[in-house]
Symmetry: C2
Subunit: 536 residues, 2 copies
């Protein structure tokens, strides 16, 4: 345990970009030209860095985010800049010899070279990669030798909480290209993944006894992260498009602090795209309506978006011709539903970005996007917990995303994933159409994500008339499925609050991992179990 390199982090953005005539937002094709105009990327050990180094001048034509001072927890408000980081200002003198920081010497890092074999677009399959993939090489002293902007000497040493500038640049540009937030002072910070970001955010915004707003069925781990902190979910109603804004408004308008024993909630946690577990996706108008309610009640919206790029082609039915892939990057980007971040005129959105579903969950690298004020508090917290995502993982991601694919190749990869998941989703839905008893089972073909949410009409179960509870019937069906060789998740596992009384019954089936054949076989088994249980 030792201090990261003593450097002072200035998030105010001091690069002089105001005079560059470039009012348009960054595009994939514009990145190369824009990079030539930005200040040199800092390549030292644990350098100070921030997204303002990489955002285009277009961003600064917009108003600043609102302040959210009134929303931070006592813990977060108490955080100060590290003492040792304060000493960083002295390091600007190149003649100075530092005996200050406790950094180990890179000659004692026992890795001289790291190579990864990765796909060469458009050959994205494992087979193509094995045959014609590219081997990316990272040496220990590539920076000194002028062959790369990032190397093992730097990646293996301490880093800054917001991540290495080399990778932060890529995600900042990506964020501008895809979301182009409508306020000026947004920032990115790399994270150790969205689970970590959520835990950190809860501690940053909430106090014990608080409630947070969540879809009535939500990712159970997000509930379980909050509970030990004394923070409970308030279930907001959902429909086929997810979160219902009227329900949100209703809860907040009628919040009775005395009756609840808690202040009015102000954190909305939502998974807008391919929601876990329901697979629901909020369309643009829905998001705008939710955002309006958030403005009315001064909420902070946490949009947890691991499935954003698992938006799929429309589902057109078993016999329809497949919908062709987007013809260009532009068409692809246009096809994406606007994020809350892209609607966020106030700076009240924290967007959690993840590589888990689109590159690798094992990297434990993600990022957040939010206003400078919020990101600054977030970073202060990370400095004394995670410190930073693993440098080895950051280097590998940098080599792939920035050094090899670039934004263009990354979008190609994402389009490829979109088509792959479309096929998987189609296989799942078609299997359900063919193999499930439709008089008791209902679903909406998911437009994004990994999950298929199957509603079962439990009141038609023979147990209902003989007095079994909803929970007992759910357990019976689940066990019947397991006994018939298929594991699906029970809807009740995903309740935002254990006291939330369920009216309906659901099972979640994922189409992310099993092969098309296995999906079909699994749904067949589930159908058999349902038929047996319902005596059909």
């Amino acid at each position: 345990m030792s201090p990261p390199a003593a450097v002072e982090v200035d998030l105010r953005g001091d690069s002089d970009t105001s005079s560059v005539p470039c009012p348009d937002p960054l595009t994939v094709d514009g990145v190369a030209a824009w990079r030539t105009k930005t200040p040199k990327i800092p390549t030292g050990v644990a350098p100070a860095t921030h997204s303002d180094m990489f955002k285009s001048p277009h961003c600064y034509t917009k108003p600043k985010a609102k302040r959210f001072d009134h929303r931070f927890s006592l813990e977060s408000k108490s955080r100060k800049v590290s003492t040792l980081k304060g000493a960083a200002k002295y390091l600007k003198n190149p003649e100075l010899i530092s005996l200050g920081g406790g950094l180990p010497s890179p000659e004692y890092f026992p890795f001289e070279e790291l190579d990864v074999k990765v796909p060469t677009p458009p050959g994205f399959s494992p087979e193509a990669t094995r045959e014609s993939g590219t081997v990316l090489k990272a040496g220990k002293h590539d920076i000194r030798e002028g062959t790369s902007l990032y190397d093992l000497e730097v990646a293996l040493n301490y880093g800054q909480a917001m991540g290495a500038p080399q990778l932060l640049r890529f995600v900042t540009e990506h964020t501008e290209i895809i979301h182009n937030p409508p306020y000026s002072d947004w920032q990115c910070s790399l994270t150790c993944g969205s689970t970590f970001a959520w835990d950190t955010t809860l501690r940053m915004l909430c106090e014990r006894g608080d409630y947070i707003l969540m879809e009535e069925y939500t990712f159970s781990s997000s509930v379980e992260t909050a509970l030990p902190l004394g923070v409970k979910g308030v279930p907001v109603k959902i429909d086929a498009q997810g979160l219902v804004p009227e329900s949100l408004d209703d809860i907040l308008t009628n919040w009775d602090e005395k009756a609840r024993g808690a202040r009015k909630p102000f954190v909305l946690y939502t998974i807008p795209t391919g929601q876990n577990p329901t697979g629901a996706t909020q369309l643009a108008e829905r998001r705008k309506a939710v955002y309006k309610v958030a403005q009315k009640h001064d909420l902070v919206i946490v949009e947890d978006e691991p499935y954003y790029f698992l938006q799929m082609q429309p589902y057109t039915g078993a016999d329809a011709a497949p919908v062709p892939p987007p013809a260009s990057h532009e068409e692809f980007i246009k096809s994406l539903i606007p994020s809350f971040l892209s609607l966020d005129v106030d700076g009240r959105v924290m967007r959690f970005e993840s590589f888990s579903k689109v590159v690798s969950p094992g990297s434990r690298v993600g990022w957040i996007v939010a206003s400078e004020q919020i990101v600054e508090r977030f970073i202060r917290s990370c400095e004394v917990s995670s410190q930073n995502p693993s440098g080895i993982a950051q280097l590998v991601l940098y080599k792939l995303l920035d050094g090899h694919w670039g934004h263009s190749g990354y979008l190609d990869w994402l389009i490829n994933l979109r088509m792959q998941y479309t096929n998987r989703r189609n296989a799942m839905v078609q299997a359900c159409e063919k193999l499930l008893p439709r008089d008791i089972a209902r679903w909406t073909p998911p437009a994004a994500g990994m999950f298929h949410w199957i509603e079962v009409d439990w009141q038609k179960h023979p147990g209902f008339s003989s007095g079994k509870t909803r929970a007992e019937i759910e357990e019976d069906i689940f066990q019947a499925a397991v006994n018939n060789g298929v594991l699906v998740s029970r809807g009740s596992w995903f309740k935002a609050n254990s006291e939330f009384e369920e009216r309906n019954m659901f099972f979640r089936a994922t189409f992310a991992a099993a092969s098309e054949e296995k999906i079909s076989e699994a749904i067949s088994r589930f159908g058999q179990a349902l038929r047996a249980e319902f005596k059909l």
Copy 2:
């Protein structure tokens, strides 16, 4: 954000090792034979694992740890096993098709191979590695193909909070070989580094308003981790051997809850070896005395030990012949001062282990060792924050430590580091002997770590008689040093509590990173600054 693979974690240790006749603790040479008797290592995605799979039968001849139920925070006590992990038991049926967990398919991980070039013992220098290093290869399907126990397919997917069994095995064996804890139910858990482990531990044990016991000068980041949680340090007196047990006992015996407005502290945070910032090392008798006080007052001892393997050869003076390196692994292990863990008959020690100073801080992989009860609570917390250290970093460490060096090669590496740091320390101390004004500057040659702690007799400073405060004189000297081209850290940056009133004045200089020539030049500049300030 998605659930890690649904598996149930059973820390009770169900491997049947009781009948194996092997009463001796594990040794470096005994590992290979012992491994043949242990159950097969689980090689699936995010498998359930724990140290009991890897500890030798010798461990079970010892009594169990005491319970520490009364020490956990409200937050920690509220933690439950994840709902989704509860579904894991169904996965034991190999015929079952799981549509349960949200794991992405490995065909969408865009890395087919990862290679690292590492030193081949005994050629540990970067030059030797470049010339005759070994390239370690990790493919995507090495496990399936039978060529390795760990591969990209598994490392790039979700993992368990305690880490991959492949690396957990290595650190468990290492822990038994080096520390052989004197109770039976100790466990290891991999962590995202000791800063993260400390934050997690504070939340696990402390409530807002608590005090924790710390060396009066300590790692400032550890203080800054605690403060925003409402947890303050109580400074315990130190001497040339670090923590003074009588001071610890005195504070606890005379703790006045009313006057302090806080319950009696029960967490002792200590850096026993090469302490940061003082460089002090507690010898064996000192540790035993501290442990006794911990027993008397029922403390939990957190031993933060990044510098344990930076214990150096004795300092014998500028003109003495160098002390030869340890002649064998046995001699090396014997030369190490016993850790608190190795004295811990009660199971009241949490040991923080780190690869930062001996392999690479950028890996963000470390581990803790503690009783099963404590590690279980720790893991419950990680499951909903960090999830697990980066799989890419774990794979790289596994390939190096287990796949290539083994315990024998790793000890060779550590002995090599010991000699390297001995040379650095000698250069630092000899430069001080030659270049600092010894009438006002004093030090003890450090026996471990990276830091040299220089006391300056501030009352001989001309400012003292003219009424300057201690703090003003410290600032003057610090600035004079910076102006003369050398950055050292001010002792006051490391106060365990901002209210702690300093009697003496110190500066910390690290010998970890600068070359011997730079160290000498830097100390020369510091000497000039001191002479100018003190008008010598």
